[in-house]
């Protein structure tokens, strides 16, 4: 599904990724481990065109991606630092996101309320995001994944359970397991980046390490 060949990226002269080859196919969930600052987040950001890369090529369904945006609805990136418009409320943020990802009009409100309920933010639906705690922000970004569930095919998670409370983590775990096992209808694949080893082990099929700019 998503194949990366000889991807290299360097900030100034510091080599972050050095000729990385990586592949993730349908219904596969991969965990990526690496020390802090080893370029895990940069690698994810490159996949969603938030950071440009020096050379190498990215293929999505065997089609080379360069400067277009059609594939971006298929890959959803939930960053380590959740990003929402602070002066807008949770509902308005999700409303804007669903308009961008072109969810059909009449289902939007229902989907937003449903995803916020699953995540446990139903009572703070009309609160401006600026008053959200970091745990609530994390839950809001997870609710974004639920909201766009049947649009994305690859979900990029950057240390998803960082800052989550107990039932938040439990909710996240069975969410990931449900996405992972749903072999039947929609072909979901996950790429989870974290630095805590055992959590990754029981949430993904395959674990890889990013060290010194190489993924093995």
């Amino acid at each position: 599904m998503l194949r990366i060949e000889k991807l290299s990226k360097s900030f100034g002269q510091k080599i972050i990724l050095d000729e990385v080859n990586f592949e993730i196919n349908i219904n596969e969930s991969i965990g990526l481990l690496g020390k802090n600052g080893s370029g895990k987040s940069t690698f994810l950001k490159i996949l969603v065109d938030l950071v440009n890369y020096q050379n190498g090529s990215i293929f999505y369904n065997e089609k080379k991606i360069k400067m277009e945006t059609s594939y971006k609805s298929k890959i959803l990136y939930l960053g380590h630092q959740p990003t929402f418009y602070p002066s807008l409320t949770a509902k308005e943020n999700l409303l804007f996101i669903s308009k961008i990802y072109k969810i059909d009009e009449n289902q939007i409100i229902k989907k937003i309320v449903n995803s916020l309920n699953i995540v446990g933010l139903s009572n703070s639906i009309n609160l401006p995001v600026s008053v959200f705690s970091s745990g609530m922000l994390r839950k809001l970004s997870i609710s974004k994944a639920i909201l766009l569930e049947n649009i994305w095919e690859i979900l990029l998670l950057d240390e998803p359970n960082d800052g989550l409370d107990i039932e938040g983590q439990e909710m996240l775990s069975n969410l990931i397991l449900s996405w992972k096992n749903k072999k039947s209808n929609n072909n979901k694949s996950l790429l989870i980046v974290s630095h805590n080893e055992n959590w990754i082990k029981n949430h993904t099929d395959q674990v890889m390490h990013l060290t010194k700019g190489k993924i093995n």
Binding site: F11, G12, Q13, N52
Partner: protein, 230 residues
């Protein structure tokens, strides 16, 4: 470990090119001072023309090169075009400053005022100010990785503005038509050829300084690479 980089002047072509420039500059001086006729009214001041107008041409060409290299950099993201754009912007701004200095020097004795809102001079002034912005963007954004694309973009936008500035200033300063509009064609033969020769000499100087600066920028980036892993 890496090959020894040579001085710019060690390769034979740049040395010859430098000598050629010095030689032709001397010839130009001789022509300007002794061969060309003396204008009955302006006398020696008219001879500033041989330095004022060619540096304006070089500044224009330099800024055109900045735009072209900016477009190429955005297309290919190859550092060479960024060096060309940066070097050409620097040289263009130097010659812009020369035009803005020699212009008033020529104007004070002849028109009695040192500055007139003449269309061409004002266009050069506005381009000079835009490029001050260009360099402050480069300085402020040094740490940013996308600073090269940003300065390329501003280089392109700056040159797109030139025709509009020229026409708007031309209509704006309708009454200020002091600047002589000598049509090049029917100038007497000696002025015409000396002017052409001086254009060529100025252009050679521009190419020489451009290549020299690019050579230095290449060393500088190699040095940065070395310092990083060192």
């Amino acid at each position: 470990m890496s090959s020894e980089i040579k001085f710019f002047h060690q390769n034979i072509y740049s040395k010859l090119f430098g000598l050629l420039i010095i030689f032709s500059w001397l010839i130009l001086n001789y022509f300007v001072l002794f061969v060309t006729r003396i204008d009955p009214y302006q006398e020696m001041a008219q001879k500033i023309f041989y330095f004022h107008v060619p540096s304006a041409w070089v500044a224009g060409i330099a800024y055109l090169v900045v735009m072209i290299s900016g477009i190429n950099y955005l297309r290919t993201k190859n550092n060479y075009w960024d060096y060309v754009g940066y070097a050409s912007a620097e040289i263009g701004t130097i010659f812009c400053a020369l035009v803005l200095i020699t212009g008033p020097i020529w104007a004070t004795p002849i028109w009695g005022t040192s500055w007139s809102w003449e269309p061409r001079l004002t266009t050069v002034l506005i381009m000079f100010l835009i490029y001050l912005g260009y360099f402050s963007v480069r300085n402020f954004g040094k740490s940013l990785t996308t600073i090269k694309s940003i300065s390329a973009t501003i280089g392109v936008l700056a040159f797109l503005n030139v025709p509009i500035i020229y026409f708007s200033v031309k209509f704006w300063a309708e009454e200020v038509q002091l600047h002589p509009q000598p049509e090049m064609m029917e100038q007497p033969v000696d002025i015409y050829y000396t002017f052409l020769f001086s254009l060529i000499v100025f252009f050679m100087i521009y190419m020489y300084l451009l290549n020299y600066r690019i050579h230095i920028l290449k060393i500088k980036s190699k040095l940065e690479n070395i310092l990083e892993d060192y």
